[in-house]
């Protein structure tokens, strides 16, 4: 029997074209027995069942999983997502995570998925553009125009106006610079922290990986161990060694479709939202 793992609609995997939904790719990255990040082919099956959805965060990464997802901890032990929620001992667990991505080139499809996720938070949306409210009134407008967005004020607030095609082109050309640029204009707070809504996790993963690519240390913060609505990213001078301690873990009130991925290599563990999946 082939190794398999359960995920949910909101789960994220790492493929040659970046962070994406599990149903988008025939091949994804994982970690082999030597600790190397390598791609392997997978098959994906949408099961005819729904399950509770778990949000899991460590000091190094975050993401959504199905209640039946099993994850590897830093000691090589297997942890069930639902058990992590129910035993309320998340801070006693350490996770090995991978958010530093290898050479990737975002595809049109991946750019489109990311666009759709941004769309949900738009103040106004059209087919070809969206308007997102900036978290900080950005008074200096001189450096606020780039090929894929511009900053404008409407009423009391400042907004990023994003063009879909230009955003996709910029992401494909230089994903890390594009992610950084958008995050710093859209989500930077007066405290110098990036404040993501929890459901902006997909974009947050791109920004986290961009920080790693630029050797920029990033400290992740969450509201409490039992729940978080936001993901806070604070830049630090150096790559920090957090030890991957569990930071927050809980069920979200809604249920999600269950997705099963299968692979052949038993010595390889797929990466989902930076965490390593264990076979069921």
């Amino acid at each position: 029997m082939m190794p398999s793992a359960l995920l949910t609609d909101n789960s994220t995997v790492l493929a040659a074209d970046g962070w994406c939904k599990p149903d988008e790719q025939p091949e994804i990255f994982g970690v082999d027995r030597h600790g190397k990040v390598v791609p392997r082919p997978i098959t994906m099956k949408r099961l005819r069942e729904i399950a509770r959805v778990v949000f899991l965060a460590s000091k190094d990464s975050f993401g959504y999983f199905s209640a039946g997802t099993r994850l590897l901890d830093a000691a090589g032990g297997v942890r069930g997502a639902s058990a992590l929620v129910e035993n309320s001992q998340i801070s006693d667990v350490r996770f090995e995570t991978v958010t530093e991505v290898p050479a990737i080139v975002p595809s049109e499809k991946v750019a489109s998925t990311l666009w759709d996720s941004l769309n949900e938070f738009a103040a106004v949306e059209r087919e070809e553009a969206i308007i997102l409210r900036c978290r900080w009134p950005n008074k200096k407008l001189t450096d606020n125009v780039c090929p894929f967005f511009s900053i404008r004020r409407f009423g009391q607030h400042y907004y990023c106006i994003l063009n879909k095609q230009a955003f996709a082109t910029a992401l494909r050309h230089d994903w890390s610079k594009t992610s950084d640029a958008l995050a710093s204009k859209w989500l930077l707070t007066p405290d110098g922290i990036l404040q993501f809504h929890r459901d902006q996790f997909l974009f947050a993963l791109w920004v986290l990986s961009a920080g790693k690519r630029h050797d920029q240390g990033v400290a992740l913060q969450f509201e409490t161990r039992q729940h978080t609505t936001c993901i806070f990213m604070a830049p630090t001078a150096n790559q920090n060694l957090s030890g991957g301690t569990g930071a927050s873990c809980f069920y979200v009130p809604t249920e999600g479709a269950v997705i099963e991925i299968q692979w052949e290599d038993r010595s390889w563990n797929p990466i989902s939202s930076g965490f390593l999946l264990a076979s069921n």
């Binding site: 738009a122 103040a123 106004v124 553009a129 409210r133 907004y159 161990r225 729940h227 809980f250």
Partner: protein
């Protein structure tokens, strides 16, 4: 029938035979069974009280739960830990909003009523797009068939959520409007 007395405490006493960690907070009780029973009792009260309203501020929910359980006081930190447990188990959800002072706030929405909250957001945004300016009182009338405890507050929570994501702005404490030029932005750039 007298209501049960809660035997949960934030500090260990000579009577404390059991301890459970809720996030960073440890709670103590006379026995593990009794502690779990009391935690479940508060959890049920949180679910019941939150389910009766579209949304609630944390301190209002604490007051309703205290009344529901017939308690004279309820330690704020203890309630926070027990509310955290309900958030962890997905019985309730925290929704972001922005106050008239520009501060971010969180309100509690029962997990079963998230779709109601989404419908309320859609109604409020459509009203704003149509009228440009909406008072909290008008919004309350649009969202609820009749005024009752908490309906005005829920209307402010819905409004605060729209403001947080830039779909509305405050004109003053009781009036919100659609930011000028926002809906015409694409026409201007076309």
């Amino acid at each position: 029938m007298s209501r049960p007395r809660l035997d949960i405490s934030l500090s260990r006493t000579s009577q404390s035979g059991a301890r459970i960690n809720l996030g960073r907070t440890a709670v103590y009780g006379p026995s593990h069974e009794r502690l779990q029973q009391d935690i479940a009792l508060v959890g049920d009260a949180i679910n019941k009280c939150s389910g009766a309203h579209l949304s609630l501020a944390k301190f209002v929910l604490a007051k309703l739960v205290r009344e529901e359980l017939g308690l004279s006081t309820f330690d704020k930190r203890l309630f926070g830990a027990l509310l955290g447990r309900q958030l962890r188990l997905g019985g309730v959800e925290a929704i972001l909003g922005e106050s008239t002072g520009g501060k971010t706030f969180w309100v509690i929405v029962n997990g079963q009523r998230l779709s109601d909250f989404q419908i309320a957001l859609d109604i409020a945004e459509n009203l704003l797009i149509r009228q440009r300016v909406v008072s909290i009182k008008e919004l309350e009338t649009a969202l609820f068939s009749s005024r009752s405890y908490g309906t005005w507050s829920s209307a402010t929570h819905v409004c605060g959520h729209l403001v947080y994501f830039g779909r509305a702005q405050y004109d003053d404490d009781t009036v919100a409007s659609r930011p000028e030029g926002l809906d015409d932005a694409f026409r201007a750039t076309d």
